[in-house]
Each structure stands twice: as structure tokens, then as C-alpha cells.
């Protein structure tokens, strides 16, 4: 397994091996799916759209609908304007969405299609919308694409009417529908009226009904996006996936925002609750206090198995930082943190975390890849690996227990329905981590040391 990977360090500047990121458009597509009755549209050759739909479907195991401009060699030479025009006409005619959210690709970006001008020159049916975002695949990652799409939806649609709607805007970041449900549940328990953008719950975790629906019940409504301009304030989870959206809403409609880390674990969920309390100025209901207490109780119960255990975490930057903090709360050592997404902020935030919890010898890297992470692990091992499916090869090669968390998970089921965020998500993650460590202990125990009680 991965026999060519050796522990000796080697500086690479040309060859990317086993990436820990993918390209912008897939993130934009995911964000657009979180808008109700929206047809995401990929402005490029149809392979991009096919790849992105394939990948999202494999993660969510639910239909992922999106259209393509289906570029040919001719459109690549003469520009994709007429393809987009035809596409928009056909999409409204055949699939009748309320809104089309176009994202570009490296193809349409390289030839320089001006989407602003193209959309302005289009006939759009009354009451319907066409928006776009630029997602050149040669910049950033899928997280950047997600962030760009959410920001563009706001730039295109949100309006400040001058009359506050008393709502809080919530930007959940690139998380699963199960996480979005949990963030909303907490807001509801706190008595906050909110608009979440995007909201893929009810879209990509849809129930089996015996009837296919092109536009499932979930998703942020276009009116709600328009009315984001009238929100009192906003909470953005994750600098990488959500700050751009909050900033866009601030710039366009003067809605103040609070930037929080992905609320994984105790401390970061506390911050979310405090932010909600600041909004409502009400007592925190006992229900949440109880959940918090349960989580802390669990962390104390399991500490003999988690304390001082070393873990490597890879994936999307906001998610990795969230998990890292939770590991620290569990007494674990997040020895290696790696994301494929570029951005020095990741490394800085990680260093702050290491310092805050007083751990030494930990390492964080942005714009890295799994080949390098594997080299680090070979040189100095860890007790646990946490990340998406692609880590399973390292886990097998080095015989390390592996917990799947983040995106993409294309070899397991149910994960997208369940949260990692909030106290409930913390309990789930704690259970997964503890079970992985205990299963390993059981597997490796000598017969005379194999215990009934742990």
C-alpha cells in the first residue's frame, strides 16, 4: 500500500501527489444546491459538470442536479456566450427553476468569458433570476468556490429595505446537511429567527418518498436571500468558507457580522451559543446546558483513552481547525494538521491553537497534499488519522485507526445526515474517536489482556 512513499523529506514544486483538495466549481455547485429551486450551472465543458455531480452524489448518496454549457472546441475558440444563452433558455423551459446559479470553470476563465456582460444581455423570464460567480479552478480550492458562490448570491440578490426583519443571518460554511440541521436546531432552541445560506438540508439528505423531486423541499428561498439585507447581524462559520459571504453582506447592506470558528467541540459551540445569546439577550435554555453537560461528561469518561493520543487531521481548513480544537479539549495532540486549500491563515490559526493549549511538536500546513502528510506520519507516527475517504490508504499502509470526517466521504454511508457541529456533533465525534481507539486496543490486545470491561 502506497509503497513509493518514503519518510525522507523531499521539496516538491511541480508535482502534486494525492491532493487534499479539489477544484473551485464543485464547491460552487454544492453552495448553489443549498438554494431552493435553484439549478446550478457549470459554464464549461460537460466533463466538469459530470465530475462534480458524480463526486457530490458519491458523498451524499442523493440526486445532484446541475446543468452544463457543454462547450465544444468551437466555443472554446469563439467564446461561450451563445452556449450560455442557449443553456439558460433551455433550463428555464425544461427544468423551470426559480434561479440559475452559474459558476465558471478553468476553461471559460482562461478564454475570458465576461459573465457579467453575458447575463446582463440575456432575456430572463419575469420573476426568475440568473446569478453567477467566478470559480477559476487554478486558484484556491473547492472551499474557495463555495465561498465565492455564497458571496455572489448575496451580491446579486440581497437588498436592504431599511426595515429590519429581526433575523440573524447564518453562514454555515462547507458542512453536511446534518450539520446545517444541527446549527438550525440550536438557533431554534435559543429562540432566534434566522436565515441560513446555503442550506442543503432537505435537499441532499432528502427522505425516500417514492417520488423524485427535481427541487426538493429544502434550500434557502430566493426571497430569504433578498431579505438577508434586512437582517440584524450575521454569524459566519469559518474564515475560509464563510467570511467572504458575511463581508459581502456587510459591504452591500451594512449587516454586521461575527466570524466564528467551525463550532466543533465544547469551546467553539459555546462561542456559537454566546453569539446567539448576544442576539436574543435571553437566558440559555436548560436543554442546551444539558447537552453541553452531557458532552463534557463524556469527555471526562473517555479521557483515559484519549489523553495524550496523537492524531493527524486533514481536509478543509475550517473543519480541520475545528476538529483540532476538539481534540485538544479531549486531551489529544493534533500532531499534524494539513489542508490542500492554500492560505497562511490556516497555519497561523493552528499555531495559535497549539499555543493556547500548550502542546508542542505539532505541525500545520496549508496547500499540502496527502503524500507529504504520509511522509510525516512515516517519519514520526500518530495513533489516529482523521479526514475524508482518501486517507484510508495511509491508514492501511501505516495500520492506524481512521475516523472519517469532512469532505469527501465516498466510501461510507449515513455520515451526511449526522452532525459534527454542536454539542450533539461533539458527542458523535467523541464516540467515533473513542471507538476507533478502543477497537484498535481490542484488536491488538494479547489474549490474556483482552478485557471484558473497558
Amino acid at each position: 500500500m502506497l509503497d513509493y512513499t518514503k519518510k525522507e523529506t523531499y521539496e516538491r514544486s511541480g508535482l502534486r501527489v494525492n491532493p487534499a483538495k479539489t477544484c473551485q466549481p464543485v464547491g460552487a455547485m454544492y453552495a448553489a444546491l443549498g438554494v431552493h429551486a435553484c439549478m446550478p450551472h457549470s459554464h464549461g465543458s460537460q466533463g466538469c459538470c459530470a465530475f462534480h455531480r458524480m463526486f457530490l452524489t458519491r458523498h451524499f448518496k442523493d440526486p445532484v442536479m446541475a446543468a452544463s454549457s457543454s462547450f465544444t472546441e468551437g466555443s472554446s475558440v469563439f467564446g461561450g456566450g451563445s452556449n450560455l444563452k442557449t443553456a439558460v433558455k433551455n433550463i428555464f423551459n425544461i427544468y423551470d427553476p426559480e434561479i440559475i446559479a452559474v459558476h465558471t470553470t478553468c476553461l471559460s476563465e482562461t478564454i475570458g468569458d465576461d459573465l457579467n456582460a453575458l447575463i446582463q444581455g440575456m432575456e430572463i423570464p419575469d420573476g426568475k433570476y440568473v446569478v453567477h460567480t467566478n470559480t477559476p479552478s487554478y486558484k484556491g480550492s473547492h472551499i474557495t468556490g463555495f465561498s465565492n458562490m455564497v458571496a455572489s448570491l448575496i451580491q446579486y440578490l440581497s437588498v436592504k429595505s431599511g426595515k429590519s426583519n429581526g433575523r440573524l443571518a447564518i453562514f454555515p460554511g462547507f458542512v453536511n446537511p446534518g450539520d446545517m440541521r444541527e446549527l438550525k436546531r440550536i438557533a431554534e432552541i435559543m429562540g432566534v429567527s434566522y436565515t441560513m445560506l446555503p442550506d442543503t438540508s432537505g435537499v441532499l439528505d432528502g427522505p425516500m418518498t417514492g417520488k423524485f423531486s427535481l427541487y426538493p423541499k429544502g434550500g434557502t428561498r430566493v426571497e430569504e436571500i433578498i431579505q438577508l439585507g434586512d437582517c440584524v447581524s450575521s454569524i459566519a462559520f469559518g474564515k475560509f468558507a464563510s467570511e467572504a459571504a458575511a463581508e459581502a453582506l456587510y459591504k452591500k447592506c451594512n449587516v454586521d457580522y461575527q466570524l466564528l470558528g467551525m463550532p466543533i467541540g465544547v469551546g467553539r459551540t459555546d462561542e456559537y451559543i454566546l453569539a446567539l445569546q448576544e442576539f436574543t439577550k435571553e437566558e440559555v435554555p436548560y436543554q442546551l446546558e444539558e447537552e453541553r453537560g452531557q458532552l463534557v461528561d463524556i469527555l471526562i469518561d473517555i479521557h483515559p483513552y484519549t489523553c495524550n493520543k496523537k492524531a493527524a487531521v486533514f481536509g478543509d481548513p475550517d473543519m480541520v481547525l475545528g476538529i483540532a480544537q476538539f481534540l485538544l479539549e479531549m486531551g489529544m495532540i493534533p500532531k499534524y494538521l494539513l489542508t490542500g486549500t492554500p492560505g497562511e491563515d490556516f497555519e497561523e490559526e493552528a499555531e495559535e491553537l497549539f499555543a493556547k493549549f500548550g502542546v508542542e511538536g505539532c505541525r500545520a500546513k496549508a496547500f499540502g497534499d496527502l503524500f507529504e502528510l504520509h511522509q510525516w506520519i512515516k517519519a514520526d507516527g500518530v495513533d489516529l488519522l482523521i479526514g475524508g475517504t482518501h486517507g484510508k490508504y495511509i491508514a492501511r499502509a501505516e495500520d492506524i485507526p481512521f475516523v472519517r470526517a469532512g469532505f469527501p466521504i465516498i466510501d461510507r454511508y449515513v455520515h451526511s445526515y449526522m452532525p459534527l457541529v454542536g454539542y450533539k456533533g461533539g458527542m458523535r465525534l467523541a464516540e467515533m474517536i473513542c471507538n476507533a481507539l478502543l477497537d484498535r486496543m481490542d484488536r491488538d490486545a494479547a489474549e490474556e489482556d483482552f478485557e471484558m470491561v473497558l
Binding site: 511541480g14 508535482l15 477544484c23 458524480m54 446543468a67 472554446s76 477559476p136
Partner: protein, 532 residues
């Protein structure tokens, strides 16, 4: 209104005219089942098609285990083709296998602006340091073609600099109209730079190539097991589980078997022209199809002993699966299926389903050409359009040293007339009248046709799988086999039957409707009569 008309009715006149030509009610039309295929998808239509890169790197080249494939472009294209197609390969002693790895130049904005050749060279030199491959393939993605990186010059440089084999494939995603263009480009370069280079000694005269078998879920291994059992020597499999050394020696075989006609027919023909090896369309999916293929191959070699051995193996393999086949036939007989896959399986699996008593009522291809539907006799009548003309048609000549004929010219002529070799009859001849054949079946048509035809199973890919299942129709992936397999030959048929029986009879289907949705809310009596 007829089913098809009702579906097409939603389209505006332009789309209507286009799509109508891609939909055929078999035996119930006035143009001899002619179908439009291998033409552009209309923008905005939700197609399941992919791109040229997917066909080249993903389909044809990807399975070659010891070719170090560098995707030259931004990260996505390499990422999406990393381990997602289930082409299996074993690493033998002293062999290389890079299938667990994904290599890309991960081009950044500056590379797009100033050119990516320098980074590609750097990537190659790093690959040499870290992996020491004997073969590097470079596959380009959309922006690379636009910024004009000369990947072929870089390949030449690498060959000289490192003494390795390095082949470049200009398979930018925008070329052609689907994956099909990428198959062609991959075929061209493999023939041009790889096939014919080997000089391995061939042990038997029953030496064959297995073309268009990508070893998804282990299909190729099962087929090779069967062929070897009879006494054939598989020189090269294109390309499932294969290594460069096998591809290089493909010219040593005495017959090329073609499983997936669409993706590999180019090289089958070029190998024949250049090296004298005829090709035979076979199908190792389904029991009857496998038996026919085995008998056809034996007939080509014409050796009575081989024919006898073939019958022995058939009888033994049949005996092994007889009980299970009877059980599954009992479970599946009378069911109906719709199939929408790439460019060959929609035909192949109809044979297998027939073995199980399942009728195929709708079948279509994602990226096939007219001959895959109607048979190669239509080849002279296919009009070339601008998209197709842009894909190079390689002109090959007989190789003065390596050209060899196993059979005499007369025998070959006779076998050609009998359509045993160098022929594929297409899908339509095996479809019942009144069934439907649809090219580039899009999302809207899928939804509507499934509603209208109500098949028990929809065989498709991952993108439309859950569309069907949400509507209560079992869907199994026939690209990736839903993580199962092998499905080929005798044993594979049983695996397949087991999987779909499991799917149709999964208890969860009984719970789709909540009980309170089926029962009346109020039970009482009204005027002495029971209301519900």
C-alpha cells in the same frame, strides 16, 4: 399521444427536432431504426456525458498500472479520476503499480498566465526522483490546450533526459462531444508509440488480445481465468489490470477480442492493418453470450481439439452455476429493465438479463456512435461533422517486419463474410420491437420515461441512480458495478443475479409509504354506510 411524443412535447421546436432523432421506438419507425448519435449535447440539457479527458485518462489509460500518469492542469481533473472507476490491478513481483496514487501539476494562476511547461518538466523530474517510473503519460486538461503548452515537446524532452518512455495525450475536455473523443486519442497514441515495441516470446499459437476490457470489479480477471482454462494465452488486455510490457507486445497475438467496441475499435482496426491480426467482437457478459463468444473464438482457430476443450469447459462452468441460475431465474423472471450506460454495456447486459428472464424495455448509450446501435454496416453512411473532424484519424500501414497472418487470406475472407471477424452488429438487432433506444438520454427524459415505462430496475451511473431510487425504482450502477463484481462470464452472471435479486427484494422497499399515509384518518359510519 404516443409515449415518446408526450415526452418530447415539452421541448421547444429546436430541441424537439434535435432530440427526436436520438430516440427510436424499435421496429416501429420508417427509417430502419436509424438513430442520431455522437453529436453535440445541447447546452443546458442535463446530460450524463463526460468529457474527452475522462475518456482518455479515465477510461483507456487509467487502468495501465505501471504507467505514471501526470494530469497536466488544475487539480480537479486528476482528483476526480483518482480511484473512482474500480479498474483493479495486482502488483506482481518486480512490477510497478501507481493506481493508489494521483499525480497532477496542480496549475495555479501564474502558470496559466505564463505557461505551464516549466512546471510540467519540474513535475517530471520530481516524479523521476521519487518514483523512478519507466513510463510517464502526460494528459492535458482544458486550459492547457488554450494556453498552448507543447506537452508533446515536453514528452520528447523527458524521453531524452531520463531514457524513459514518455507519451503525451492532448485530451483537453472540450474536444469532441463526449468521452468518445478521448478514447480515440488514447488509442492513437498507444498504437503510435507503444504497441509493437515488445519482443516477448509467445508460448502458444492460441495467443489473443483482450481489447476493451477494463477489469471493473475484476471482470477482466474472470474472463482471463476462463480463457486460460481453455488454453488461450492472453498477450495483452487493453487495458484493465495491464502493464506496459503487455501493451507493447500486443502485435504478437493471433486474434484480438473486442469486448467494448466503442472505446477500443480504433486500435483493434489499426492493429489489424499494421500487424495483420484480425479482431472479433465478443461479449463475456451473460451465460449464453459467453458460450457463443468461446465457440466463435475456437471456430476462428479451427482446431478440433480446442473446440472440444471449449465444450468441456463450458459444460463444467455451466454445471457449477446451474442450481444458482435456476434459483435466481425463479426470482427474476418476468421483470423488466431499462439500461443507460456508456458505449457497450447497454448492449452486453441485455444478453445477461435475457439469461435471467428479464426483458429490457429501454436501452441507450451515453457516448456511442451510430454503428454501436445499428451495426458497422452503417459506417459508410455516417456524416462527419466539425467536432469529429477535429479528432485525428491515424493512417497506418502494414509493418514490414511485424506483420503476420495466422490464417490464410482466403480463410480470413470467408470469416469476414460470415461476420465472425471484423464486424459488430450493434445493439438494435438484439432488441425487441416496441422497445426504446435512446441516445444521450438526459435527465428529463429519464424521469419521464421511467414514469411511463415503469421498469423494475434501472441500470445506470451514479448521477442518475438516486433519481430512479427516489422514485421507488431499484437502480444499480453499471459503470462501477456498485462496488460489486465481477459480473463477467459464468460466475459473474451469478454475482450479478445475486445483486439485483438482493436489490429487488430488499425489505426496506416495503417501508417507503408510512402506514398513516395508507390508512384512512377517520374511521366511522355515515348514514349506516361505512366511510373511508
Amino acid at each position: 399521444m404516443k409515449t415518446i411524443e408526450r415526452v418530447l412535447d415539452k421541448y421547444d421546436s429546436k430541441v424537439y427536432k434535435n432530440r427526436k432523432a436520438h430516440i427510436v421506438e424499435v421496429g416501429n419507425n420508417d427509417n430502419n431504426n436509424e438513430i442520431a448519435a455522437n453529436t453535440r449535447t445541447i447546452p443546458g440539457i442535463i446530460t450524463q456525458r463526460g468529457c474527452c479527458y475522462a475518456g482518455c485518462k479515465g477510461v483507456v489509460l487509467g487502468p495501465i498500472k505501471d504507467a505514471f500518469i501526470i494530469t497536466h492542469g488544475p487539480i480537479g481533473c486528476a482528483f476526480y479520476t483518482w480511484g473512482t472507476r474500480r479498474h483493479k490491478a495486482r502488483k506482481g513481483e518486480g512490477e510497478d503499480n501507481y493506481l493508489q496514487y494521483c499525480f497532477s501539476t496542480d496549475l495555479q494562476e501564474a502558470d496559466i498566465v505564463f505557461g505551464g511547461e516549466k512546471k510540467l518538466k519540474q513535475a517530471i523530474s520530481e516524479a523521476m526522483d521519487l518514483f523512478k517510473p519507466h513510463t510517464i503519460f502526460i494528459c492535458s486538461t482544458c486550459p492547457v490546450g488554450l494556453i498552448g503548452d507543447d506537452i508533446h515537446a515536453v514528452a520528447k524532452w523527458a524521453e531524452k533526459e531520463y531514457g524513459i518512455k514518455c507519451v503525451a495525450f492532448s485530451c483537453e475536455g472540450y474536444k469532441g462531444v463526449s468521452q468518445s473523443a478521448g478514447h480515440h486519442i488514447a488509442n492513437n497514441q498507444l498504437l503510435r508509440y507503444v504497441v509493437g515495441e515488445g519482443d516477448r516470446e509467445i508460448k502458444t499459437k492460441y495467443a489473443i488480445n483482450l481489447l476493451g476490457e477494463y477489469n471493473i470489479g475484476g471482470d477482466g480477471w474472470e474472463t482471463e481465468r476462463l480463457l486460460k482454462r481453455i488454453g488461450y494465452e492472453v498477450v495483452a488486455t487493453f487495458t484493465g489490470g495491464s502493464k506496459m510490457d503487455q501493451i507493447k507486445n500486443a502485435h504478437k497475438a493471433n486474434l484480438s477480442l473486442v469486448q467494448c467496441h466503442r472505446s477500443i475499435n480504433y486500435i483493434a482496426e489499426m492493429i489489424e492493418t499494421k500487424f495483420g491480426i484480425p479482431w472479433m467482437k465478443v461479449n463475456f457478459i451473460g451465460v449464453e453470450a459467453t458460450i457463443k463468444s468461446l465457440r466463435d473464438i475456437a471456430r476462428y482457430f479451427g482446431d478440433p481439439e480446442l473446440m472440444e476443450r471449449t465444450e468441456e469447459v463450458i459444460a463444467d462452468e455451466l454445471a457449477q452455476i446451474a442450481d444458482q441460475m435456476e434459483y435466481y431465474r425463479g426470482k427474476l423472471k418476468g421483470k423488466t429493465a431499462a439500461i443507460y450506460v456508456g458505449g457497450s454495456r447497454s448492449h452486453h447486459y441485455q444478453d445477461l438479463l435475457r439469461d435471467l428472464g428479464v426483458r429490457t424495455i429501454l436501452a441507450g448509450y451515453e457516448f456511442a456512435h451510430r454503428e454501436d446501435y445499428e451495426g458497422r454496416e452503417v459506417l459508410p453512411f455516417i456524416k462527419m461533422d466539425a467536432d469529429n473532424k477535429n479528432i485525428e484519424s491515424l493512417i497506418v500501414e502494414p509493418d514490414p517486419e511485424k506483420y503476420h497472418l495466422f490464417l490464410s487470406e482466403e480463410d480470413l475472407k470467408r470469416l469476414r463474410e460470415e461476420k465472425l471477424i471484423d464486424y459488430y452488429g450493434g445493439m438494435v438487432k438484439d432488441m425487441e420491437n416496441g422497445t426504446y433506444m435512446v441516445d444521450d438520454l438526459n435527465h428529463y427524459e429519464t424521469e419521464e420515461l421511467l414514469k411511463a415505462l415503469k421498469p423494475d430496475i434501472f441500470f445506470s451511473g451514479i448521477k442518475d441512480k438516486f433519481v430512479a431510487q427516489k422514485a421507488g425504482i431499484l437502480s444499480r450502477q453499471l459503470h462501477s458495478y456498485d462496488y460489486s463484481g465481477p459480473y463477467s462470464c459464468f460466475r459473474g452472471t451469478v454475482n450479478f443475479a445475486r445483486d439485483i435479486t438482493m436489490g429487488i427484494y430488499a425489505p426496506a422497499w416495503n417501508y417507503v409509504k408510512a402506514p398513516w399515509k395508507m390508512a384512512p384518518i377517520l374511521v366511522g359510519s355515515l348514514g349506516g354506510e361505512k366511510a373511508c
